[in-house]
C-alpha cells in the first residue's frame, strides 16, 4: 500500500476534551445569539410596520450592510492577530475618490474597481510594514496613517466632489441593481466573506493567524513567520477597504473628501459586537459580518418604527457595551464551570 497523502487521521482522532467542546459550543452560541437578536429585531419591526420587509426594504437592509460587512471582514483578520487597523475609513475614502476620478475621465468600470483595490493594498502594505517591521503598537501607527491618508485625500480632493451624474450609467446601475431583492453588491460581499471564512478555517496560514494572535511569542517559537502573517493580514484588510470604497462609489455615487470619516469606529464596533476579541486569537468573520448586519439594521429599524434617528448613535454604543459585557460574563461562567468539572474529574 502506498501512502499518497499525509494521513490527517491522528489529529482528527484525538478525542476533544470536554472543556474544548464546551468552549467551542459557547463560541457558536455567540454567533447564534447575534443572529437571534437580529431576527427578533426584524420580526418586531415587521409587526410594527408591515412595509419594512418589502422587496425594497430587504434590498436596502442588505445594501446598507454590504460595505460595513466587507470592511469588518478585513478588520477581523487584523484583530485576530492582536492588532487593529484604524486607517480603514481613510483608505475607503481615498480609494472611492480615486475610482471616481478615473471613471469620470471615461475609464473602464472593472479597472476602476481594481484601481481602488490596489490603492487599498498600498495603504494596507504601509500599515503592515510599519507594524510588523517597526514592531510598534498598531493602535498608534494606524492612528497616524488614519491622519496621513485622510490628509493626503483632502489635499488631493480639495472641495471637489464626485456625483452620480459624472459616472457611467452601467456602474451606477450595478450599484443599485440585483437579483430580486439581493443586490449585486451584497453578493460580492458574501463571496468575499465565505472565501475568507474558508481560508481562516482550512488553510494552515489562516490557522496561524489565530495562533499568533493568542500568543505571539509561542507562535514565533513554533516557527510561524509572524511578520509575514501580520503583513498579509494588513494587506488583506487594506484591499477590502479599497474594494469597499469602490462599492461605496457604486452605491452612493457621491464622494468627497469627507467620505468614510469616522468609519473606523463603526467597523471596530461591528467586529467587537460580532465576538472578535481585541486580545486576539478568537472570533470568526461570520460573527463580524453578523455584527455589521446588526449595527446597520438598527439604523433602518428605528426610522421604520417611527423612532427619531437621533437615537441611533446612542443605541449603537449601548449595543457594543452590552455585547462585550455579556461576552465577558459568559466567559467567566464557562471558566467556573470548567474549573468545577476539572475538580470533579481530577
Amino acid at each position: 500500500m502506498t501512502v499518497t497523502a499525509p494521513n490527517p487521521a491522528p489529529a482528527a482522532e484525538v478525542p476533544k476534551s470536554s472543556g474544548t467542546r464546551l468552549v467551542d459550543r459557547v463560541f457558536k452560541m455567540r454567533e447564534l445569539a447575534i443572529l437571534l437578536v437580529f431576527l427578533v429585531m426584524i420580526v418586531i419591526t415587521q409587526i410594527g410596520n408591515s412595509d419594512f420587509l418589502s422587496e425594497q426594504g430587504i434590498k436596502d437592509l442588505l445594501l446598507n450592510a454590504t460595505i460595513l460587512v466587507l470592511v469588518a471582514t478585513g478588520q477581523s483578520l487584523v484583530v485576530i492577530t492582536r492588532n487593529v487597523d484604524l486607517s480603514v475609513g481613510s483608505t475607503l475614502g481615498i480609494s472611492a475618490f480615486a475610482a471616481g476620478t478615473y471613471l469620470q475621465d471615461g475609464g473602464n468600470s472593472t479597472v476602476a474597481v481594481l484601481l481602488a483595490v490596489l490603492l487599498g493594498i498600498g495603504c494596507g502594505l504601509v500599515n503592515g510594514l510599519l507594524v510588523s517591521l517597526g514592531q510598534v503598537p498598531a493602535l498608534v501607527v494606524t492612528l497616524g496613517t488614519l491622519y496621513i491618508i485622510r490628509g493626503i485625500d483632502s489635499i488631493w480632493v480639495g472641495s471637489r466632489q464626485i456625483t452620480a451624474a459624472g459616472l457611467p450609467d452601467g456602474f451606477i446601475d450595478f450599484g443599485s441593481g440585483g437579483l430580486w431583492a439581493v443586490p449585486w453588491l451584497a453578493m460580492i460581499a458574501l463571496v468575499v466573506l465565505v472565501a475568507t471564512a474558508y481560508y481562516l478555517k482550512h488553510f494552515g496560514s489562516g490557522r496561524e493567524l489565530y495562533a499568533l494572535g493568542s500568543n505571539p511569542e509561542a507562535a514565533r517559537l513554533a516557527g510561524i513567520p509572524v511578520r509575514k502573517r501580520i503583513l498579509a493580514a494588513y494587506t488583506f484588510c487594506g484591499a477590502l477597504a479599497g474594494l469597499a470604497g469602490a462599492l461605496y462609489l457604486a452605491r452612493f455615487g457621491n464622494v468627497d473628501s469627507g467620505t468614510g470619516y469616522g468609519y473606523e469606529l463603526t467597523v471596530v464596533s461591528a467586529v467587537v459586537v460580532g465576538g472578535v476579541v481585541f486580545t486576539g486569537g478568537s472570533g470568526s468573520v461570520y460573527g463580524a459580518a453578523l455584527g455589521a448586519l446588526l449595527l446597520t439594521s438598527v439604523n433602518s429599524v428605528l426610522p421604520a418604527l417611527g423612532v427619531s434617528s437621533v437615537w441611533v448613535l446612542a443605541i449603537n454604543g449601548i449595543l457594543l457595551i452590552l455585547a462585550i459585557a455579556v461576552d465577558r460574563i459568559v466567559a467567566l461562567r464557562v471558566a467556573t464551570a470548567l474549573k468545577k468539572r476539572n475538580a470533579r474529574h481530577g
Binding site: T145, Y147, A314, N316
Partner: protein, 336 residues
Amino acid sequence: MADSALVRAVRWSALKRWDSAVGALLIVVLLLSFTTVDGFGNALNLSFLIGNTLPIALIALPMTLLVVSGEIDLSVASTAGLSGAVMGALWNQGMTIETIIPICLLLGVVCGLINGLLVTRLGLPSLAVTIGTLAAYRGIAQIVLGSDAVTDFPSQYLDFASGRLGDTFIPYAFFPFLVLLAIAVVALHATPFGRSLFAVGASEEAARFSGVRVKRQKLILFTMTGLMASLTGVFWALHYASARFDNATGLELSVVAAVLLGGIDFDGGKGTLGGAIAGVFLLGALQNVMSLQDVSAQSQIVVTGVLLVLSVLGPRVARQVSIARAGRRAAQSSTG
C-alpha cells in the same frame, strides 16, 4: 576620567529620553517661529494658540495618568460634548449657570464612573468599552440637544473663557489650567499613588501582589478623566460661545496623538507629564504656525500623522541603534 565618562553617559541617556527630546523640539519650534514667522510672536496670536490648545491639554492631564497605568479612554470627547449639550439644554430651561456647571461636572464624574466600573468590575478592555461609550455619550448628547446651538451664555463667563489678561499673551483660563497641571504633576510624580500607577502599568499582576489596590486606582483615574472631560466640555462651549451636541468631535484622537507624541508608552508604565504637555503644545504650536503660513488644514493633518508615526518609530529605532552599539562595544572589548 571615569567620572567624566559617567557624566557623558548620563547626559546622553537624558537626551535619548523621548520626553526631553520632545521638550527640546518644542523650544526649537517656538524659537524658530518667533524669529522667522510673521505674526507668530504677537500677544494676541499667542493667546489664541494657548486658548485653542487648552481643551487638549486639559484632557491630556488625566489621560497621561490613565495611559501610564495601561488603560485608555476614547470617550473623553463625547463626554465633553455631552456636558456641553446638557449645559445648553439646561440653560434653555432657564436655570442659572452657577447651578448648571456643577451638574455638568457631576455628569462627567458619572460618565467616567461608568467607564471605570465596566473596566474594573467586569474586567473588560478599556479600548472596547470606551469606543462603546464614545458612541453612547455622543448619542445621548444628540438626544438631549438635537441640532440646536445654544450661544447666549452670560457674557462674564464667555469673556472669562475667551479673554486674556490685559494685553499679555496669557488667557484667563490658563491659570486654572496651571493649578490643575501642578496637581497632576504632584499626583503622578511625587506621591505613592503616582508611583504605583507606573507599577500597575509595568505589570498589573506584580503591582497587585505588592499591595497596590489596582482596581480602586483605575476607578479613580477613570472618574477623574470623566470630570476633566466634562470641565473641558464646559470650557469649550464657553470658549467658542456655542453649545452643540457635536462639540469637540474627534478630540479624543488629538489628545491620544499628543500624549503618545510626548513619549507616554502605549503599553503602560512609562512617561512623564512634562513630555505629554510638551507633546500637546508642540502639536498646538505647529498647527498655529502652519495656519499663519497659509498651510491648508488638510496638510496639517498629514503633519500630525507623520509626527505620530515618528514618535513611536523614533524611540524604537534609537533603542535598536544603542543595542547594536553596545553589542559592538562588547565585541571590541572582548577582542581587545
